[in-house]
Assembly symmetry: C2
Homo-oligomer: 233 residues x 2
């Protein structure tokens, strides 16, 4: 199924500098493809380039194209990779439905908490057209300016994120990876979120002595340092 020689294409959110790829959902899939040992050709995409992915009937990335088949939505892409490349190490484990909660919690709890810290930094890496689009849509969603959203990030902002991550600390006391003894999509979900912030900002999300920081340091080195070596703002 399109494995030998036929490259997979992944449309990824990019900054003004096309080498800066920062979408948490795209990073999940980058890690998922590396986990499966699959080569990928990344295509830089910007918020205002809706027409470029209209073929996928989606207004968002990641969009994955594999041997003529188009798949959108990071969770659906992870399912597709497990279904299609079933002889490669599984991403979602023996009961994929069990991972939906971690996915939903990360999207619904961790992402807003990270956004409160790096929202202005995201804006600053974007191409000019995207900056205008981003400011307008996000300021409407938050009901305040980007600058106001992140105004208290050094105090309540970062404290709220670190408190929200408490259940992750509990899990990492019992096992080395969120996937258990080995890393899998459970880890890639949260690593993708931290890479989102790391790509656009130098703000330290985690305290140095946080057990999650130790896990993150290991995650950065996976797949020959895929995350560690990615371009940052």
């Amino acid at each position: 199924m399109g494995e030998s020689g036929v490259a997979i294409t992944l449309y990824e959110l990019a900054g003004a500098d096309p080498a800066i790829r920062f979408s948490p959902y795209c990073w999940r899939i980058r890690l998922a493809l590396a986990h499966k040992g699959l080569a990928v050709k990344g295509v830089a995409w910007r918020f205002t380039e809706k027409s470029k992915i209209a073929f996928a009937k989606s207004e968002r990335v990641p969009v994955l194209v594999d041997a003529g088949k188009t798949v959108v939505d990071s969770w659906r892409i992870a399912e597709y990779l497990d279904e299609t490349y079933d002889l490669h190490p599984p991403l979602l484990g023996g009961t994929p439905a069990h991972l939906r909660f971690l996915n939903a919690w990360t999207d619904g709890v961790v992402h807003p908490a990270i956004a409160r810290i790096v929202l202005k930094d995201i804006h600053d890496v974007l191409a000019p057209d995207d900056q205008a689009y981003f400011r307008e849509t996000r300021e409407r969603a938050f009901g305040m300016t980007l600058e106001q959203v992140v105004a208290d990030r050094d105090t309540t902002g970062v404290a709220a994120l670190r408190a929200a991550l408490a259940p992750i600390r509990t899990v990492l006391r019992a096992q080395p990876w969120l996937g258990g003894e080995a890393h899998d999509y459970a880890d890639y979900i949260l690593l993708g979120s931290l890479q989102w912030a790391r790509s656009v900002s130098r703000f330290p999300l985690l305290a140095e002595d946080d057990p999650i920081a130790e896990w993150h340091a290991r995650g950065l080195q996976l797949f020959d340092g895929l995350l560690a070596h990615a371009k940052r703002a």
Copy 2:
């Protein structure tokens, strides 16, 4: 392995009325045993009866005794049941490590939010010795009286719980049970928490039109109405 005729014994937290069993962790195991189709003999235990479970080297329930083997801690008991009764339907699914996050989140986020609502109701169902013990230990932990903890339960208390449950709603939009197409320990984790509140209180934790309430109504009827028919205060 102690299956035919040899009853499993489960020590369960009980109120002044020994028929009121309310520990969320004990309810998880009650549901887990029903899922496995295993008979169980429940033994009422109270907070101040530490000597009664000293044989298990534990100060807490659930304590499970199966054919001379003693197992403590609800997660460990669920693992034990899957290991021992491996021909029965699995509780923890194909990748048990993936369920640890839901377990940790429920214990660390949902339980404090429920406690803010029903803490005084728990106190009120306890036997006199347990009431004194409970008031002293919980008031020290919360840094205020039981009455102060629940003072705002009609407003910020219940709103905080319902907001915290948002990722559960997201999952239940994608699948009928937290376990996927069928219920398993993922569901029993949260059903146990709701049964804790339901056993001691008539306070409505969920709005009637909450999708979680529909799931909960189905959960109450599992295993011939094990939860629905349990005695309440």
